[in-house]
């Protein structure tokens, strides 16, 4: 028994056991799911690689992918992090060419995702998690809202005191028109960014003061940008004092490293969109895809989002840093949170006439054209 190899054996087998234990445990059907779900899990074990196209940064998604792998160790996931417009183009072309493409598409471009579903590219799936979500988050059991993406007013704490912050949209519009903020504003260019268009158009539809705010943005000669990165950089460096309608989860992530970055949600109405997931109808791994979608929607997945990825969870029964509950409190009640629904209305935004109507208003208010 002096032989170290022999000594090591019982230790090793213990180790193996403890490694196997969670695996065995994970095979069980998640709480609250129908018993038939085990068939999906078993079928998924026989499937190949699951390909995901997503506009969420690999770095933000990694905790979710790791935790998904912990729950279903047999799953082989390939994660592609692609911009929203390229994601759409790439999927459409690959689907037409019949080459391998995404099994799950997870994107911030709500309109394009719903369009894919409406055009018949999405698998219809009655998720056992759907009951935990409102009707504004599920479209025809084909497109599923997964996160909450509130639009924030961000500001530079070195240059703007908390007491100077405008309390309402109307106060902000007055501040903008006051002449002190000329050249010190950053916001979306809805003519260049799809996500920017969705946000600004909905802002106009749901916020009575949008006209005043957009005219104010024009008077203050706001810089119009097509990427969140550019706007965060402008505000953290102090080149701009405020950034209007900035995606809250990205700002929250940046606050981890830049303490000078301030973020405020409106109490007279904060708009939010949802990152939408769909399953490709022609997927070769439908069961693994369902497991992943259900995982994103599950309490477990949303907890990881809220606490590790710092993406606001859509479910209300989740506790942590970036949750619906925290946000609801910050905006001053459920009524003040105006979430863009995953529904047919988004398709209207893709009709040139509707689009032009809003863009004309925008150009008139912001550019004086």
């Amino acid at each position: 028994m002096r032989n170290p190899v022999l000594l090591a054996r019982p230790v090793l087998s213990l180790l193996t056991l403890s490694l196997l234990a969670p695996v065995v445990h994970a095979q069980a059907v998640p709480n609250g799911y129908p018993a038939g779900y085990s068939a999906t899990i078993n079928a998924a074990k026989k499937e190949g690689k699951l390909i995901i196209y997503s506009s969420t940064d690999q770095a933000s998604a990694q905790p979710l992918l790791d935790d998904f792998k912990k729950e279903y160790p047999f799953a082989n996931v390939e994660y592609n992090d692609i911009g929203t417009s390229q994601l759409y183009s790439r999927f459409l072309a690959e689907a037409a060419a019949g080459t391998p493409t995404a099994d799950v598409l997870w994107s911030s471009a709500m309109d394009l995702q719903v369009k894919l579903a409406a055009d018949g590219y999405a698998l219809t799936y009655a998720s056992p998690e759907s009951k935990n979500f409102g009707p504004e988050s599920v479209y025809q059991n084909q497109a599923f809202g997964t996160t909450l993406e509130p639009a924030a007013l961000i500001y530079n704490k070195r240059l703007v005191k908390a007491s100077e912050l405008p309390a309402t949209h109307a106060a902000f519009a007055a501040l903008l028109s006051g002449g002190k903020l000329t050249g010190k504003l950053a916001t979306w260019d809805p003519e260049k960014s799809g996500v920017g268009f969705t946000l600004m158009e909905y802002d106009n539809a749901s916020n009575k003061d949008f006209g005043a705010v957009s005219s104010g943005l024009g008077k203050a000669q706001a810089g119009l940008y097509s990427s969140t990165g550019a706007m965060l950089e402008k505000v953290t460096s102090g080149e701009a004092l405020y950034g209007y309608n900035i995606i809250g989860s990205y700002a929250l992530l940046r606050q981890k490293t830049v303490p000078d970055l301030g973020m405020k949600f409106w109490k007279d109405g904060t708009i939010a969109f949802q990152r939408v997931a769909i399953i490709n109808k022609a997927t070769k791994a439908p069961n693994t895809a369902k497991l992943f979608l259900d995982y994103l929607l599950s309490r477990r997945g949303q907890l990881v989002m809220a606490n590790q990825s710092l993406i606001y969870s859509l479910r209300s029964d989740v506790a942590g840093k970036a949750t619906r509950a925290v946000l609801t409190q910050q905006v001053g009640g459920t009524g003040n949170l105006r979430v863009i629904g995953v529904d047919k209305r988004l398709l209207d935004n893709l009709v040139p006439a509707t689009r032009t109507a809003f863009l004309n208003l925008w150009r008139k208010n912001v550019k004086g054209q």
Partner: protein, 576 residues
């Protein structure tokens, strides 16, 4: 070997008898280049007449996309801005680059070696990052701007980096290195006897430059001017980062406008923009041929070329060095320092304690993220191996242009001028379509080969011009001697011309390597896990706001290239 040593001005046509490899070899080359260049362009041409994606089941053929683009005032504004940029690049970069090349290679300018290395830097830094560097250093909140306004008690800087003239100036100055490298390679290979003769008969330095050296490298000057014109219309990264703040659009950033106005990617209008730029490129190649062919090209590097003493600048020595340093400060050192600084801090701007914000976390984030660290390795592989193969291919094409029968030569010249005209984002899309719709290419697509192929096509105009310039400097005497001695055409080329060409080839490989490290837009659609490359990764990260990672990645890019360049020089790649 009876030709007199000095005057070797042989017009290119005179040395084009029907020899060299068999004509069918040239036709094969022509066919291969035609397929590689024309298939994406024809696909775009077809798409430009369609109402829907070419692969959609329902589509109509028509010219609606053309009328949409051509009647859009925003397009014409963008086109005008692009023309201003291209003009600035020609009128700033070509004279400055040529003079710097002369000073560094031919005179006793102090610090010439250091200048040469520094001048390289902007070429291989992604223009997106260069733009970020300018913002961090010279923007309204920049650290140089801060020092300046404090020093002179100003409320804000008297300059801007966001207006059209500012962007044009920056574009012009940051493209000086392209011209410099191009022209200096040619100048180094010049037979110095002509300059020597001029000097001995009493000409001053300025006179030698304007009446001997510059006329001798005229083809290289024309090529660089045309390259600037092409790149001017294709430029994307700088206006993307600097143009937003004041709404300055150029053709490539106008493409974003097309997509968002319809809500879905508008392939038709995008293809129309590509067609307009292709027409422009054809015009540019036509102009370039007219400008160089009429006068013939000059073969000045032969077996007997020798190098003279460096010209003495005299009292101009230090003033010129100071002007060069000022230029380098503005176009290279300050923006590079901005990038480096950005990679080492969490945040910046007035009121930030930079020492307190110092961090190595941005680099740690890259190392801990598998896709980002993989992209560093992949980029090196594509640039080294793909770049090497590319040089061989470009050499063949350049030889074809120089030696193939007339019709084939002209066609090759035009074909080789086209790919860079199409904005990288559109070219990337067209190449992606080919990779997924052409059965033979499908297996290649998920590999790095697809990215190397895309880069090779996209940089064809640049590479072929580099090698044409190098070839144009090589005299045919040696090869003819070998032929007379009984060697075959191929054998004579390999044994006589290739050794003389070697430094030029290695210099070209270095330049291509740098372009491949930096290239971004054409790979965006081809990325998949395992085939990430730095440039495309940077574009992706820009969208979601990870400027920290971008700055760290680019600083790594700079380190990689400086390392490769120093290694290359150490092994005698660029003999003085």
């Amino acid at each position: 070997m009876t030709t007199p040593p000095i005057s070797q001005k042989l017009p290119a046509q005179a040395v084009r008898p029907a020899r060299g490899p068999l004509p069918w070899g040239w036709w094969l080359l022509l066919a291969a280049v035609a397929v590689a260049v024309l298939s994406p362009l024809l696909l775009l041409l077809w798409q430009s007449f369609l109402s829907n994606p070419f692969f959609a089941p329902a589509k109509q053929v028509g010219v609606s996309a053309y009328s949409q683009v051509l009647t859009d005032p925003a397009f014409w504004r963008a086109f005008g801005n692009s023309a201003v940029l291209a003009g600035a690049m020609i009128f700033i970069a070509v004279p400055l680059g040529a003079i710097l090349a002369f000073l560094v290679t031919k005179t006793d300018l102090p610090f010439a070696k250091v200048f040469e290395v520094l001048l390289l830097t902007p070429i291989f830094v992604s223009p997106i990052v260069l733009g970020v560097g300018f913002i961090v250093s010279l923007g309204p909140s920049g650290f140089v701007s801060g020092l300046f306004t404090q020093l002179f008690h100003l409320a804000s800087t008297p300059w801007s980096v966001y207006t059209l003239p500012a962007i044009a100036l920056i574009a012009g100055l940051t493209h000086v290195p392209y011209v410099f490298l191009y022209v200096s390679t040619t100048m180094k290979n010049l037979d110095a006897s002509l300059e020597e003769a001029a000097r001995l008969s009493g000409a001053g330095v300025w006179k030698v430059m304007t009446s001997v050296t510059l006329p001798l490298v005229r083809p290289a000057l024309v090529y660089s001017a045309m390259l600037m014109l092409l790149l001017g219309f294709e430029i994307f990264g700088l206006p993307l980062v600097l143009g937003d703040a004041k709404g300055v659009d150029v053709i490539t950033t106008y493409l974003y406008r097309l997509t968002a106005v319809t809500g879905v990617p508008a392939y038709g209008p995008m293809a129309v923009v590509a067609m307009i730029l292709i027409l422009l490129a054809l015009l540019i190649v036509f102009m370039q041929r007219a400008l160089t062919r009429n006068k013939g090209s000059y073969a000045s590097l032969g077996a007997k070329g020798y190098r003279a003493q460096r010209l003495k600048l005299g009292s101009w020595r230090w003033p010129l060095a100071i002007i060069t340093i000022l230029y380098l400060l503005y176009a290279v050192i300050i923006p590079m320092a901005g990038v480096l600084l950005r990679s080492l801090v969490r945040s910046w701007g007035p009121g930030v304690d930079l020492l307190g914000a110092l961090t190595t976390a941005n680099y740690a984030a890259i190392l801990s993220s598998p896709d980002l660290s993989r992209s560093v390795v992949n980029t090196l592989v594509v640039a080294l191996v793909g770049g090497g193969v590319a040089v061989a291919v470009y050499l063949l094409v350049a030889l074809g242009i120089q030696r193939a029968p007339k019709g084939a030569s002209r066609t090759l010249d035009y074909l080789a001028g086209l790919p860079r005209a199409v904005p990288g984002l559109i070219m990337g899309l067209a190449l992606f379509w080919l990779f997924i719709f052409v059965p033979a290419l499908k297996p290649v697509r998920p590999t790095l080969i697809s990215i190397a192929l895309a880069y090779m096509v996209v940089w064809l105009p640049y590479g072929v011009r580099l090698l044409t310039a190098a070839l144009g400097q090589v005299s045919k005497d040696l090869e003819e001697a070998a032929r007379i001695g009984g060697a075959t055409a191929t054998g004579a080329f390999l044994k006589a011309t290739l050794p003389v060409l070697k430094p030029g080839l290695i210099a070209a490989w270095l330049l291509i390597f740098m372009q491949f490290v930096r290239e971004y837009s054409s790979a965006v659609y081809l990325l998949s896990p395992g085939t990430e490359v730095l440039g495309a990764q940077i574009v992706q990260l820009w969208g979601t706001g990870a400027v920290d990672s971008i700055a760290a990645l680019s600083s790594l890019q700079i380190v990689i290239i400086v390392a490769v360049y120093s290694l290359a020089t150490r092994f005698g790649v660029r003999p003085e």
